[in-house]
Symmetry: C2
Subunit: 252 residues, 2 copies
Protein backbone atom coordinates (compact mmCIF):
# COMPACT_ATOMS: atom_id res chain seq x y z
CA UNK A 1 0.00 0.00 0.00
CA UNK A 2 1.21 3.49 -0.78
CA UNK A 3 1.86 5.71 2.21
CA UNK A 4 -0.21 8.91 2.46
CA UNK A 5 1.38 12.35 2.70
CA UNK A 6 1.52 14.54 5.82
CA UNK A 7 0.06 17.83 4.59
CA UNK A 8 0.95 20.89 6.65
CA UNK A 9 -2.26 22.94 6.37
CA UNK A 10 -2.14 26.61 7.38
CA UNK A 11 -4.83 28.11 9.57
CA UNK A 12 -5.95 31.75 9.55
CA UNK A 13 -4.46 34.24 12.04
CA UNK A 14 -7.83 35.47 13.30
CA UNK A 15 -8.15 33.12 16.32
CA UNK A 16 -11.84 33.92 16.38
CA UNK A 17 -11.09 37.56 17.24
CA UNK A 18 -12.78 38.63 14.01
CA UNK A 19 -13.51 36.26 11.16
CA UNK A 20 -11.69 37.03 7.92
CA UNK A 21 -12.83 35.71 4.56
CA UNK A 22 -10.80 32.51 4.04
CA UNK A 23 -10.14 33.48 0.43
CA UNK A 24 -8.24 36.56 1.64
CA UNK A 25 -5.60 34.44 3.38
CA UNK A 26 -5.68 30.90 1.96
CA UNK A 27 -5.20 29.89 -1.69
CA UNK A 28 -8.11 28.08 -3.31
CA UNK A 29 -5.84 25.10 -4.02
CA UNK A 30 -5.10 24.79 -0.29
CA UNK A 31 -8.81 24.95 0.57
CA UNK A 32 -9.42 22.16 -1.96
CA UNK A 33 -6.64 19.98 -0.54
CA UNK A 34 -7.91 20.53 3.01
CA UNK A 35 -11.55 19.82 2.06
CA UNK A 36 -10.52 16.45 0.62
CA UNK A 37 -8.85 15.21 3.83
CA UNK A 38 -10.63 12.75 6.11
CA UNK A 39 -7.86 12.44 8.73
CA UNK A 40 -6.35 15.21 10.78
CA UNK A 41 -3.89 15.81 13.60
CA UNK A 42 -4.61 19.11 15.33
CA UNK A 43 -3.15 21.31 18.05
CA UNK A 44 -6.77 21.81 19.19
CA UNK A 45 -9.68 19.72 17.86
CA UNK A 46 -12.29 22.40 18.45
CA UNK A 47 -10.52 25.08 16.45
CA UNK A 48 -9.72 22.51 13.73
CA UNK A 49 -13.43 21.72 13.42
CA UNK A 50 -14.22 25.43 13.27
CA UNK A 51 -11.72 25.85 10.41
CA UNK A 52 -13.15 22.84 8.55
CA UNK A 53 -16.63 24.31 8.87
CA UNK A 54 -15.40 27.56 7.30
CA UNK A 55 -13.57 25.64 4.55
CA UNK A 56 -16.74 23.63 3.85
CA UNK A 57 -18.60 26.86 3.12
CA UNK A 58 -16.17 27.51 0.22
CA UNK A 59 -15.37 23.97 -1.00
CA UNK A 60 -17.65 21.05 -0.02
CA UNK A 61 -15.93 18.69 2.43
CA UNK A 62 -15.31 15.10 1.24
CA UNK A 63 -17.31 13.79 4.24
CA UNK A 64 -19.70 15.28 6.81
CA UNK A 65 -17.73 17.00 9.56
CA UNK A 66 -18.70 14.42 12.22
CA UNK A 67 -17.17 11.64 10.10
CA UNK A 68 -13.80 13.35 9.79
CA UNK A 69 -11.21 11.96 12.23
CA UNK A 70 -9.42 14.67 14.23
CA UNK A 71 -6.79 13.57 16.76
CA UNK A 72 -5.19 16.13 19.09
CA UNK A 73 -1.42 16.34 19.44
CA UNK A 74 -0.17 14.81 22.69
CA UNK A 75 0.90 17.29 25.38
CA UNK A 76 3.51 16.87 28.09
CA UNK A 77 1.84 16.01 31.42
CA UNK A 78 1.07 19.15 33.43
CA UNK A 79 4.07 20.28 35.45
CA UNK A 80 6.28 17.78 33.65
CA UNK A 81 9.15 18.99 31.51
CA UNK A 82 9.62 15.55 29.99
CA UNK A 83 9.13 15.36 26.26
CA UNK A 84 6.21 13.34 24.91
CA UNK A 85 7.59 9.86 24.00
CA UNK A 86 8.37 9.38 20.28
CA UNK A 87 5.93 6.43 20.17
CA UNK A 88 3.00 8.77 20.84
CA UNK A 89 3.91 10.91 17.84
CA UNK A 90 4.45 7.82 15.72
CA UNK A 91 0.95 6.59 16.66
CA UNK A 92 -0.60 9.73 15.15
CA UNK A 93 0.82 8.73 11.78
CA UNK A 94 -1.30 5.53 11.59
CA UNK A 95 -3.72 6.96 8.98
CA UNK A 96 -0.81 8.03 6.74
CA UNK A 97 0.85 4.63 7.09
CA UNK A 98 -2.51 3.10 6.14
CA UNK A 99 -2.53 5.12 2.92
CA UNK A 100 -4.58 8.22 3.81
CA UNK A 101 -3.30 11.74 3.42
CA UNK A 102 -3.13 13.29 6.89
CA UNK A 103 -3.55 16.99 7.63
CA UNK A 104 -1.68 18.79 10.42
CA UNK A 105 -3.22 22.06 11.55
CA UNK A 106 -2.38 24.41 14.41
CA UNK A 107 -4.47 27.09 16.09
CA UNK A 108 -3.12 29.85 13.87
CA UNK A 109 -0.78 30.19 10.93
CA UNK A 110 1.63 27.56 9.64
CA UNK A 111 1.83 24.34 11.64
CA UNK A 112 5.23 23.44 13.15
CA UNK A 113 6.34 27.10 13.21
CA UNK A 114 6.16 28.53 16.74
CA UNK A 115 3.90 25.64 17.81
CA UNK A 116 4.30 22.02 19.00
CA UNK A 117 3.63 20.30 15.63
CA UNK A 118 7.28 19.91 14.63
CA UNK A 119 7.58 16.65 16.61
CA UNK A 120 4.93 15.09 14.35
CA UNK A 121 6.76 16.29 11.25
CA UNK A 122 9.99 14.77 12.60
CA UNK A 123 8.15 11.47 13.25
CA UNK A 124 6.87 11.52 9.66
CA UNK A 125 10.42 11.85 8.32
CA UNK A 126 11.56 8.94 10.53
CA UNK A 127 8.63 6.80 9.34
CA UNK A 128 9.17 7.58 5.65
CA UNK A 129 5.91 9.54 5.34
CA UNK A 130 6.35 12.34 2.76
CA UNK A 131 5.82 15.85 4.11
CA UNK A 132 4.27 18.64 2.06
CA UNK A 133 3.86 22.19 3.43
CA UNK A 134 1.02 24.29 2.01
CA UNK A 135 1.00 28.07 1.65
CA UNK A 136 -0.79 30.26 4.17
CA UNK A 137 -0.23 33.20 6.47
CA UNK A 138 2.88 33.25 8.69
CA UNK A 139 2.50 36.00 11.28
CA UNK A 140 6.27 36.08 11.78
CA UNK A 141 7.11 36.63 8.11
CA UNK A 142 4.25 39.10 7.53
CA UNK A 143 5.45 41.07 10.56
CA UNK A 144 9.06 40.93 9.41
CA UNK A 145 8.12 42.16 5.92
CA UNK A 146 6.01 44.98 7.37
CA UNK A 147 8.75 46.02 9.82
CA UNK A 148 11.18 47.31 7.19
CA UNK A 149 13.95 45.92 9.43
CA UNK A 150 16.80 43.69 8.22
CA UNK A 151 15.10 40.81 6.37
CA UNK A 152 18.27 39.04 5.29
CA UNK A 153 19.32 38.13 8.84
CA UNK A 154 16.79 37.52 11.58
CA UNK A 155 15.99 35.31 14.55
CA UNK A 156 12.72 34.29 16.18
CA UNK A 157 13.26 34.05 19.93
CA UNK A 158 9.75 33.06 21.06
CA UNK A 159 8.48 34.39 24.39
CA UNK A 160 10.47 36.50 26.87
CA UNK A 161 10.45 35.99 30.66
CA UNK A 162 7.41 37.44 32.48
CA UNK A 163 9.35 38.74 35.48
CA UNK A 164 10.16 42.42 34.81
CA UNK A 165 13.81 42.20 35.84
CA UNK A 166 14.52 39.00 33.92
CA UNK A 167 12.68 40.42 30.91
CA UNK A 168 14.77 43.60 30.86
CA UNK A 169 17.96 41.55 31.14
CA UNK A 170 16.84 39.38 28.23
CA UNK A 171 15.89 42.40 26.09
CA UNK A 172 19.37 43.89 26.66
CA UNK A 173 20.96 40.56 25.79
CA UNK A 174 18.97 40.28 22.54
CA UNK A 175 19.78 43.90 21.65
CA UNK A 176 23.47 43.01 22.04
CA UNK A 177 23.03 40.03 19.68
CA UNK A 178 21.15 42.25 17.22
CA UNK A 179 23.95 44.84 17.25
CA UNK A 180 26.74 42.28 16.94
CA UNK A 181 25.13 40.27 14.12
CA UNK A 182 22.99 42.94 12.41
CA UNK A 183 20.15 40.50 13.11
CA UNK A 184 16.47 41.47 13.52
CA UNK A 185 15.00 39.91 16.68
CA UNK A 186 11.39 38.72 16.47
CA UNK A 187 9.32 37.81 19.52
CA UNK A 188 5.71 37.24 20.53
CA UNK A 189 3.62 37.75 23.67
CA UNK A 190 0.25 36.64 25.00
CA UNK A 191 -2.23 39.35 23.90
CA UNK A 192 -3.18 40.55 27.40
CA UNK A 193 0.51 41.21 28.12
CA UNK A 194 1.08 43.13 24.85
CA UNK A 195 1.04 46.53 26.58
CA UNK A 196 3.52 45.40 29.25
CA UNK A 197 5.85 44.01 26.58
CA UNK A 198 5.77 47.20 24.52
CA UNK A 199 6.43 49.28 27.66
CA UNK A 200 9.40 47.07 28.55
CA UNK A 201 10.86 47.26 25.04
CA UNK A 202 10.41 51.02 24.82
CA UNK A 203 11.98 51.59 28.25
CA UNK A 204 14.88 49.17 27.84
CA UNK A 205 16.10 49.41 24.24
CA UNK A 206 18.47 52.19 23.12
CA UNK A 207 16.81 55.29 21.56
CA UNK A 208 18.30 54.57 18.12
CA UNK A 209 17.23 50.92 18.04
CA UNK A 210 14.41 50.44 15.52
CA UNK A 211 11.32 48.82 16.98
CA UNK A 212 8.35 47.46 15.03
CA UNK A 213 4.97 46.08 16.10
CA UNK A 214 2.50 44.21 13.89
CA UNK A 215 -0.85 43.91 15.56
CA UNK A 216 -3.86 41.92 14.32
CA UNK A 217 -2.15 40.80 11.10
CA UNK A 218 -4.56 40.11 8.21
CA UNK A 219 -7.44 41.55 10.30
CA UNK A 220 -9.41 44.67 9.43
CA UNK A 221 -8.37 46.15 12.77
CA UNK A 222 -4.71 45.35 12.13
CA UNK A 223 -1.87 47.86 11.94
CA UNK A 224 1.90 48.01 11.52
CA UNK A 225 4.17 50.58 13.09
CA UNK A 226 7.96 50.84 12.87
CA UNK A 227 10.50 53.47 13.92
CA UNK A 228 13.29 54.38 16.34
CA UNK A 229 12.62 53.71 20.03
CA UNK A 230 13.03 57.46 20.67
CA UNK A 231 9.93 58.01 18.53
CA UNK A 232 7.88 55.35 20.35
CA UNK A 233 8.77 57.16 23.59
CA UNK A 234 7.48 60.54 22.41
CA UNK A 235 4.40 59.09 20.67
CA UNK A 236 3.21 56.17 22.77
CA UNK A 237 1.02 53.47 21.28
CA UNK A 238 -2.13 51.98 22.76
CA UNK A 239 -1.97 48.16 22.57
CA UNK A 240 -5.13 46.05 22.28
CA UNK A 241 -5.50 43.31 24.90
CA UNK A 242 -7.05 40.72 22.62
CA UNK A 243 -5.26 40.93 19.31
CA UNK A 244 -2.08 38.93 18.82
CA UNK A 245 1.05 41.00 18.11
CA UNK A 246 4.54 40.34 16.81
CA UNK A 247 7.37 42.56 18.09
CA UNK A 248 10.66 43.02 16.28
CA UNK A 249 13.71 45.19 16.72
CA UNK A 250 17.09 45.91 15.17
CA UNK A 251 19.84 47.68 17.11
CA UNK A 252 20.60 51.04 15.52
Amino acid sequence: MTTGTLLLVPNTLDLGAETVDLQEVLPLGVLRRAAALTHWAAEDARSARALLKRIGAVVPLARPLQEIAIVELPRPRKGSREAVPAAEWQALLAPALAGHDLGLVSEAGLPAVADPGSALVAAAHRAGVPVQPLTGPSSLMLALAASGLEGQHFAFVGYLPQDAGARATRIRELEGVSRRLGQTQLLIETPYRNAAMLAALTATLAPATRLAVSCGLTLGAGWNRSGPVAEWRTKPQQMPERLPAVFSFLAG
Copy 2:
Protein backbone atom coordinates in the same frame (compact mmCIF):
# COMPACT_ATOMS: atom_id res chain seq x y z
CA MET B 1 -5.43 64.02 -0.18
CA THR B 2 -5.35 60.62 1.49
CA THR B 3 -2.08 58.74 1.28
CA GLY B 4 -2.15 55.36 -0.48
CA THR B 5 -1.00 52.16 1.19
CA LEU B 6 2.22 50.27 0.46
CA LEU B 7 0.97 46.73 -0.23
CA LEU B 8 3.55 43.97 0.15
CA VAL B 9 2.47 41.56 -2.58
CA PRO B 10 3.88 38.03 -2.52
CA ASN B 11 5.23 36.40 -5.68
CA THR B 12 5.26 32.66 -6.41
CA LEU B 13 8.36 30.57 -5.65
CA ASP B 14 8.60 29.05 -9.12
CA LEU B 15 11.03 31.58 -10.64
CA GLY B 16 10.00 30.35 -14.07
CA ALA B 17 11.45 26.89 -13.34
CA GLU B 18 7.99 25.39 -13.75
CA THR B 19 4.81 27.43 -13.68
CA VAL B 20 2.46 26.63 -10.81
CA ASP B 21 -1.22 27.53 -10.85
CA LEU B 22 -1.41 30.90 -9.05
CA GLN B 23 -4.46 29.73 -7.10
CA GLU B 24 -2.36 27.00 -5.49
CA VAL B 25 -0.11 29.53 -3.77
CA LEU B 26 -1.88 32.91 -3.66
CA PRO B 27 -5.24 33.67 -2.06
CA LEU B 28 -7.93 35.00 -4.40
CA GLY B 29 -8.20 38.15 -2.26
CA VAL B 30 -4.50 38.85 -2.85
CA LEU B 31 -4.89 38.33 -6.62
CA ARG B 32 -7.78 40.83 -6.57
CA ARG B 33 -5.80 43.42 -4.61
CA ALA B 34 -2.82 43.02 -6.95
CA ALA B 35 -4.96 43.21 -10.11
CA ALA B 36 -6.36 46.55 -8.93
CA LEU B 37 -2.96 48.24 -8.54
CA THR B 38 -1.69 50.65 -11.19
CA HIS B 39 1.64 51.48 -9.50
CA TRP B 40 4.39 49.06 -8.54
CA ALA B 41 7.90 48.99 -7.12
CA ALA B 42 9.67 45.78 -8.12
CA GLU B 43 12.95 44.00 -7.52
CA ASP B 44 12.88 43.17 -11.23
CA ALA B 45 10.43 44.80 -13.67
CA ARG B 46 10.46 41.89 -16.12
CA SER B 47 9.44 39.27 -13.57
CA ALA B 48 6.87 41.71 -12.10
CA ARG B 49 5.28 42.04 -15.55
CA ALA B 50 5.31 38.24 -15.93
CA LEU B 51 3.49 37.90 -12.60
CA LEU B 52 0.93 40.57 -13.56
CA LYS B 53 0.27 38.73 -16.81
CA ARG B 54 -0.42 35.54 -14.83
CA ILE B 55 -2.63 37.43 -12.37
CA GLY B 56 -4.55 39.00 -15.25
CA ALA B 57 -5.48 35.52 -16.49
CA VAL B 58 -7.32 34.92 -13.18
CA VAL B 59 -8.60 38.41 -12.32
CA PRO B 60 -8.76 41.12 -15.03
CA LEU B 61 -6.18 43.86 -14.44
CA ALA B 62 -7.51 47.37 -13.74
CA ARG B 63 -5.51 48.69 -16.73
CA PRO B 64 -3.71 47.15 -19.72
CA LEU B 65 -0.29 45.89 -18.65
CA GLN B 66 1.59 48.54 -20.66
CA GLU B 67 -0.22 51.31 -18.76
CA ILE B 68 0.81 49.99 -15.34
CA ALA B 69 3.77 51.85 -13.86
CA ILE B 70 6.55 49.54 -12.63
CA VAL B 71 9.67 51.14 -11.12
CA GLU B 72 12.66 48.99 -10.19
CA LEU B 73 14.24 49.23 -6.75
CA PRO B 74 17.53 51.16 -6.80
CA ARG B 75 20.67 49.03 -6.48
CA PRO B 76 24.02 49.97 -4.98
CA ARG B 77 26.49 50.90 -7.75
CA LYS B 78 28.49 47.87 -8.87
CA GLY B 79 31.51 47.30 -6.68
CA SER B 80 30.26 49.86 -4.20
CA ARG B 81 29.35 48.82 -0.66
CA GLU B 82 27.66 52.15 -0.01
CA ALA B 83 23.98 51.97 0.81
CA VAL B 84 21.53 53.52 -1.65
CA PRO B 85 20.72 57.05 -0.35
CA ALA B 86 17.43 57.32 1.60
CA ALA B 87 16.19 59.94 -0.90
CA GLU B 88 16.13 57.34 -3.69
CA TRP B 89 13.86 55.08 -1.63
CA GLN B 90 11.70 58.05 -0.69
CA ALA B 91 11.28 58.94 -4.39
CA LEU B 92 9.73 55.53 -5.07
CA LEU B 93 6.91 56.41 -2.69
CA ALA B 94 5.67 59.31 -4.86
CA PRO B 95 2.59 57.40 -6.14
CA ALA B 96 1.57 56.50 -2.56
CA LEU B 97 2.05 60.09 -1.41
CA ALA B 98 -0.12 61.13 -4.37
CA GLY B 99 -2.90 58.88 -3.13
CA HIS B 100 -2.38 55.64 -5.11
CA ASP B 101 -1.93 52.26 -3.49
CA LEU B 102 1.55 51.05 -4.36
CA GLY B 103 2.54 47.38 -4.70
CA LEU B 104 5.97 46.06 -3.75
CA VAL B 105 6.92 42.71 -5.31
CA SER B 106 10.13 40.72 -5.31
CA GLU B 107 11.32 37.96 -7.61
CA ALA B 108 10.00 35.22 -5.36
CA GLY B 109 8.04 34.89 -2.15
CA LEU B 110 7.33 37.69 0.33
CA PRO B 111 8.91 41.07 -0.42
CA ALA B 112 11.33 42.46 2.19
CA VAL B 113 12.16 38.98 3.52
CA ALA B 114 15.58 37.81 2.28
CA ASP B 115 15.51 40.49 -0.44
CA PRO B 116 16.33 44.23 -0.79
CA GLY B 117 12.77 45.58 -0.40
CA SER B 118 12.98 46.31 3.33
CA ALA B 119 14.57 49.72 2.67
CA LEU B 120 11.40 50.78 0.82
CA VAL B 121 9.22 49.58 3.68
CA ALA B 122 11.38 51.55 6.13
CA ALA B 123 11.01 54.64 3.92
CA ALA B 124 7.22 54.18 3.94
CA HIS B 125 7.17 54.15 7.75
CA ARG B 126 9.29 57.33 7.83
CA ALA B 127 6.96 59.02 5.31
CA GLY B 128 3.77 58.00 7.13
CA VAL B 129 2.63 55.68 4.32
CA PRO B 130 0.67 52.75 5.84
CA VAL B 131 2.17 49.31 5.16
CA GLN B 132 0.07 46.21 4.63
CA PRO B 133 1.63 42.76 4.08
CA LEU B 134 -0.40 40.24 2.06
CA THR B 135 -0.31 36.47 2.48
CA GLY B 136 1.71 34.29 0.12
CA PRO B 137 4.39 31.64 0.11
CA SER B 138 7.49 32.12 2.28
CA SER B 139 10.12 29.56 1.26
CA LEU B 140 11.83 29.96 4.64
CA MET B 141 8.73 29.21 6.71
CA LEU B 142 7.53 26.40 4.43
CA ALA B 143 10.99 24.82 4.69
CA LEU B 144 11.08 25.28 8.46
CA ALA B 145 7.64 23.68 8.86
CA ALA B 146 8.63 20.77 6.62
CA SER B 147 11.95 20.24 8.44
CA GLY B 148 10.43 19.02 11.71
CA LEU B 149 13.28 20.91 13.44
CA GLU B 150 12.83 23.34 16.33
CA GLY B 151 10.21 25.84 15.14
CA GLN B 152 10.03 27.88 18.34
CA HIS B 153 13.60 29.19 18.03
CA PHE B 154 15.25 29.72 14.69
CA ALA B 155 17.53 32.05 12.75
CA PHE B 156 17.87 32.83 9.07
CA VAL B 157 21.54 33.41 8.27
CA GLY B 158 21.35 34.09 4.52
CA TYR B 159 24.20 32.90 2.31
CA LEU B 160 27.42 31.24 3.51
CA PRO B 161 30.91 32.05 2.17
CA GLN B 162 31.79 30.42 -1.17
CA ASP B 163 35.38 29.58 -0.26
CA ALA B 164 35.42 25.97 1.01
CA GLY B 165 37.58 26.70 4.08
CA ALA B 166 35.63 29.78 5.14
CA ARG B 167 32.36 27.94 4.53
CA ALA B 168 33.37 25.02 6.78
CA THR B 169 34.43 27.45 9.51
CA ARG B 170 31.10 29.23 9.26
CA ILE B 171 29.14 25.95 9.33
CA ARG B 172 30.97 24.93 12.54
CA GLU B 173 30.30 28.34 14.06
CA LEU B 174 26.57 28.12 13.25
CA GLU B 175 26.41 24.55 14.62
CA GLY B 176 27.89 25.89 17.88
CA VAL B 177 25.19 28.59 18.02
CA SER B 178 22.52 25.99 17.26
CA ARG B 179 23.77 23.74 20.09
CA ARG B 180 24.10 26.57 22.61
CA LEU B 181 20.69 28.15 21.88
CA GLY B 182 18.70 25.12 20.66
CA GLN B 183 18.15 27.27 17.57
CA THR B 184 17.43 25.93 14.06
CA GLN B 185 19.73 27.57 11.49
CA LEU B 186 18.21 28.32 8.07
CA LEU B 187 20.28 29.22 5.01
CA ILE B 188 19.98 29.45 1.25
CA GLU B 189 22.30 28.95 -1.73
CA THR B 190 22.31 29.78 -5.43
CA PRO B 191 20.78 26.72 -7.17
CA TYR B 192 23.89 25.70 -9.15
CA ARG B 193 25.84 25.52 -5.88
CA ASN B 194 23.20 23.42 -4.08
CA ALA B 195 25.19 20.19 -4.42
CA ALA B 196 28.39 21.81 -3.09
CA MET B 197 26.48 23.24 -0.11
CA LEU B 198 24.89 19.91 0.77
CA ALA B 199 28.29 18.19 0.49
CA ALA B 200 29.85 20.79 2.80
CA LEU B 201 27.06 20.49 5.38
CA THR B 202 27.13 16.69 5.32
CA ALA B 203 30.91 16.58 5.67
CA THR B 204 31.21 19.28 8.33
CA LEU B 205 28.26 18.89 10.72
CA ALA B 206 28.31 16.32 13.55
CA PRO B 207 26.66 12.94 12.76
CA ALA B 208 23.83 13.53 15.29
CA THR B 209 22.98 17.03 14.00
CA ARG B 210 19.66 16.98 12.18
CA LEU B 211 19.83 18.35 8.64
CA ALA B 212 16.86 19.19 6.42
CA VAL B 213 16.61 20.27 2.78
CA SER B 214 13.52 21.64 1.06
CA CYS B 215 13.93 21.70 -2.67
CA GLY B 216 11.56 23.19 -5.23
CA LEU B 217 8.98 24.25 -2.63
CA THR B 218 5.40 24.42 -3.99
CA LEU B 219 6.58 22.83 -7.26
CA GLY B 220 5.47 19.45 -8.56
CA ALA B 221 9.11 18.36 -8.60
CA GLY B 222 9.62 19.54 -5.01
CA TRP B 223 10.67 17.37 -2.08
CA ASN B 224 11.54 17.63 1.60
CA ARG B 225 14.04 15.47 3.43
CA SER B 226 15.10 15.63 7.06
CA GLY B 227 17.22 13.40 9.29
CA PRO B 228 20.50 13.02 11.17
CA VAL B 229 23.67 13.90 9.23
CA ALA B 230 24.83 10.28 9.71
CA GLU B 231 21.88 9.19 7.57
CA TRP B 232 22.61 11.75 4.82
CA ARG B 233 26.15 10.33 4.69
CA THR B 234 25.01 6.73 4.16
CA LYS B 235 22.19 7.66 1.77
CA PRO B 236 23.43 10.60 -0.32
CA GLN B 237 21.01 12.90 -2.06
CA GLN B 238 21.21 14.12 -5.64
CA MET B 239 20.62 17.90 -5.74
CA PRO B 240 19.08 19.60 -8.80
CA GLU B 241 21.10 22.49 -10.25
CA ARG B 242 18.16 24.69 -11.14
CA LEU B 243 15.66 24.43 -8.31
CA PRO B 244 16.01 26.75 -5.32
CA ALA B 245 16.62 25.00 -2.00
CA VAL B 246 16.47 25.95 1.67
CA PHE B 247 18.85 24.19 4.07
CA SER B 248 18.28 23.95 7.80
CA PHE B 249 19.94 22.19 10.70
CA LEU B 250 19.70 21.75 14.45
CA ALA B 251 22.63 20.47 16.52
CA GLY B 252 21.79 17.06 18.02
